[in-house]
């Protein structure tokens, strides 16, 4: 009993100390991060003419033909609800979804009825917020976007080329295209005309 009472007393004090430390250290780390790298610490936010349009790291839903489309998302790009589809590799539901998406991609982009479609464009991301697509998926959409916007394909293609992000330091991660940034550039280009 004496052992337990002593343990209770020490535990209470110690939990108070640890709580105080974790609050203080969280604020300390936050303060240092906010002073030295505020852009990163706040979520790499993107502003256009002073208006917040999103984050470089968080994907957005694009469905109109004049924009490059991102990956399917289990939660339709709800910013605060990250989630994957959690459908397994033998899920009939998944196969049905994929089959519809493949048809849609082929239809929207005028592909042949048996043309293979890049996996990332028809399969949902892990986070539901994936901001990127593969270079192949971007190139496949060039004719559609150019047509809709009345731009020469070559112009759109070179815009995509300019937005290919190589792996970090040339080796870490994959080659990819940031959909939101590409679409922002596209809007700027169209407005410039």
């Amino acid at each position: 009993m004496k052992t337990i009472l002593k343990a209770v007393k020490i535990t209470v004090i110690l939990l108070l100390l640890v709580s105080a430390y974790q609050v203080a250290s969280t604020y300390f780390v936050t303060a240092v991060a906010q002073i030295t790298m505020p852009d990163k610490a706040n979520g790499s936010l993107l502003y256009v003419d002073g208006q917040l349009v999103g984050s470089e790291l968080i994907g957005q839903s694009f469905t109109s033909p004049g924009y490059f489309h991102g990956r399917p998302s289990a939660k339709d790009y709800e910013g605060h609800e990250s989630a994957g589809s959690n459908l397994g590799p033998t899920s009939a539901k998944l196969m049905e979804q994929v089959s519809q998406r493949v048809e849609q991609v082929r239809r929207e982009n005028g592909l042949a009825a048996d043309a293979p479609v890049p996996a990332d464009l028809v399969l949902a991301s892990a986070s539901g917020l994936d901001p990127h697509i593969s270079v192949k998926s971007a190139m496949l959409q060039v004719p559609r976007v150019a047509n809709t916007r009345g731009l020469p394909e070559a112009v759109v293609r070179s815009l995509v080329n300019g937005h290919i992000e190589p792996p970090q330091f040339g080796i870490l991660g994959a080659e990819k295209v940031n959909v939101l940034k590409l679409n922002l550039a596209l809007d700027k280009l169209t407005r410039g005309n």
């Binding site: 640890v18 430390y21 790009y77 605060h80 033998t90």
Partner: protein, 567 residues
């Protein structure tokens, strides 16, 4: 990919290489010797002892040590529970999240305290900043320190001659927090933030997407939580999707930092055990067994993920690449090595969504978890589990060759062997027992969204993962329901305390024995023969208990997938 293989080997090599000097440092810390941080931290340590009324020079008996640990864990759980129930009215709640439901709060209290960090919720949608600090982060530093205290105690019991006491719980605990976790996390959090991991306490901001509508961009102290998640093996993520969230792994470098951090401390512990017991052979044996099992965990997931999904290929998906539940900013290679790196040591953070990975990948993950996650493992409990296997293997090998079973200069008797067996049989028992309950009750079955072999795998997975305090789950199973919130509590408690208490009981029993001199009759623990023997013992004793489930789950699924059958 060749380049990435080299980079991966370099990163893992660096993590493991740095673990060598760090293990020496840890041994100095827990041995109470002067070390690099003594000038800075020793005064703080003394102050904490004074404030708490701890006498650092008195040691505890086995009974007192266990009682103290239990009281500490119980009150810790009550604190988490209270914070989660009160978060609606506590400050730092800019999103006005309500209190958690009681069954969820109870589940989280047990989950955090047992270092399972099983998280059946979407953090950024449900937790307030106060809950992150007082619930998540407080246990993030406490629970690995408790695990560390127990492995330190066990090492101490092996290293000394006959002694009635086993050490001072408070001293072991406080040293772990002050010398290990505080400096490591404060130092290693900034490289993560520099890559784009968020660290703020702002209200969520409303963005205006190009196609109209609104998008909430979440905030939060993800940096510091991620640092603890990786270094302290908490696996406690800021977001619902863990390492898949672009705010947790924004870049390639951030992913490789994740992998280096994950293996660092558990590997250092194997070196620490060697220094504390003044027996390098035990380190060689622990480290090489773990590394071998780690390497052996690679081939199956590689085969699975690179093999592609024939069902997808038929539908016109290029190469049948299984991109479902994966992110474009990482290569398939990186998804596979992250899966193995994070799941072999029971860290539990996930990049590829487990419910969507290929059957062969999940087969390997379930095997690694089912054997109790001794491959580097959680802080303390990983090495403890491996030592339990060593004890049983020593005993079996002793029987086969007619030699006296001994480990690190102490004779092993029936008591130690029985205790060690209890530890890992307990987790197989709770894992399979609760799976059976879930599979035979409507409430358990109602939560399944994937059916067929994957549905079965998901139910068994959640109970294996909680039984060994890994805490990851396959989210195809809706574990947010009260049934799973309550049914996973006992496995988490059973898994955690069977490992820790058994570790302490073995320690206490070993402590009473005198050292025996190493003779020709002792089995060499660091020999390749013994290491291979241990691996077979692991497969036969633990791996095989999951064999029926693996057959009906991932193996059957693989065959069905090849045959083109869907569910």
């Amino acid at each position: 990919m060749t380049l990435q293989i080299l980079v991966y080997i370099f990163v893992i090599g660096a993590g493991l290489g740095l673990a060598v000097p760090y293990g020496r440092f840890m041994a100095r810390v827990f041995g109470g010797e002067r070390n690099l941080l003594t000038p800075v931290i020793r005064p703080v340590e003394r102050w904490v002892y004074k404030v708490c009324g701890i006498d650092e020079n008195t040691e505890m008996t086995l009974k007192t040590y266990i009682l103290t640990l239990l009281v500490f864990e119980l009150l810790g759980a009550i604190l988490v529970f209270a914070v989660m129930m009160l978060q609606g009215v506590l400050p730092l709640n800019p999103q006005e999240h309500p209190a958690l439901r009681w069954d969820r709060a109870l589940n989280l209290a047990v989950s955090f305290v047992t270092n399972s960090n099983y998280q059946p919720y979407v953090g950024e949608r449900e937790l307030t900043y106060m809950s992150y600090m007082l619930g998540v982060l407080v246990q993030d530093i406490i629970s690995p320190s408790v695990g560390l205290a127990v492995i330190v105690t066990m090492a101490r019991c092996f290293s000394r001659g006959s002694s009635p006491t086993i050490g001072n719980f408070w001293v072991d605990l406080i040293r772990g927090m002050l010398y290990i976790w505080v400096p490591l996390t404060l130092l290693l959090v900034f490289p993560l933030i520099s890559q784009g991991v968020i660290q703020n306490m702002n209200a969520y901001v409303v963005a205006h997407p190009l196609e109209g509508g609104e998008q909430l961009i979440p905030g939060g102290p993800a940096g510091i939580i991620t640092a603890f998640k990786l270094l302290a093996e908490d696996g406690n993520a800021w977001s619902g999707v863990s390492a898949a969230h672009p705010f947790e792994t924004p870049t390639g470098l951030s992913l490789y930092l994740h992998m280096g951090y994950i293996l660092f401390v558990p590997a250092a512990i194997t070196f620490m055990v060697g220094w504390l017991t003044k027996n390098r052979k035990i380190t060689v044996a622990l480290f090489s067994t773990m590394l071998l099992l780690f390497a052996l965990s690679m081939p199956l997931p590689f085969l699975g993920e690179f093999g592609g999904n024939p069902l997808l290929q038929q539908l016109g998906v290029q190469g049948g690449v299984s991109m479902e539940g994966k992110e474009v900013r990482f290569t398939l290679f990186e998804h596979v090595v992250f899966l193995v790196t994070a799941m072999a040591p029971a860290n539990g953070s996930t990049l590829a969504q487990l419910s969507s990975v290929m059957p062969l990948s999940i087969l390997q993950v379930i095997f690694n978890l089912g054997i109790g996650a001794p491959i580097f493992g959680c802080i303390g409990t990983g090495s403890l589990t491996m030592i339990h296997y060593f004890i049983v293997s020593m005993f079996l090998a002793g029987l086969m060759t007619g030699r006296t079973p001994e480990l690190i200069g102490k004779k092993l008797d029936l008591r130690e062997v029985v205790l060690a067996c209890t530890s890992f049989l307990m987790s197989s028992f709770t894992a399979l027992g609760f799976s059976a309950i879930a599979l035979s009750t409507p409430a358990g079955l109602a939560a399944m969204s994937n059916t067929g072999p994957r549905g079965l795998t998901e139910v068994v997975y959640v109970f294996i993962s909680t039984s060994i305090n890994n805490g990851s789950f396959m989210a195809g199973l809706d574990v947010t329901q009260p049934f799973y919130n309550l049914a996973t509590i006992l496995p988490m408690l059973g898994g955690r305390f069977s490992t820790l208490i058994v570790g302490l009981l073995i320690g206490g029993s070993i402590a009473r024995k005198g050292k025996i001199p190493i003779s020709a009759a002792s089995l060499p623990v660091a020999s390749p023969l013994f290491i291979i023997f241990v691996i077979f013992v692991i497969i036969i004793l633990s791996g095989l208990s999951f064999f029926p489930v693996l057959t009906l789950g991932p193996i059957l699924e693989q065959l069905m997938m090849q045959a083109g059958i869907t569910f």
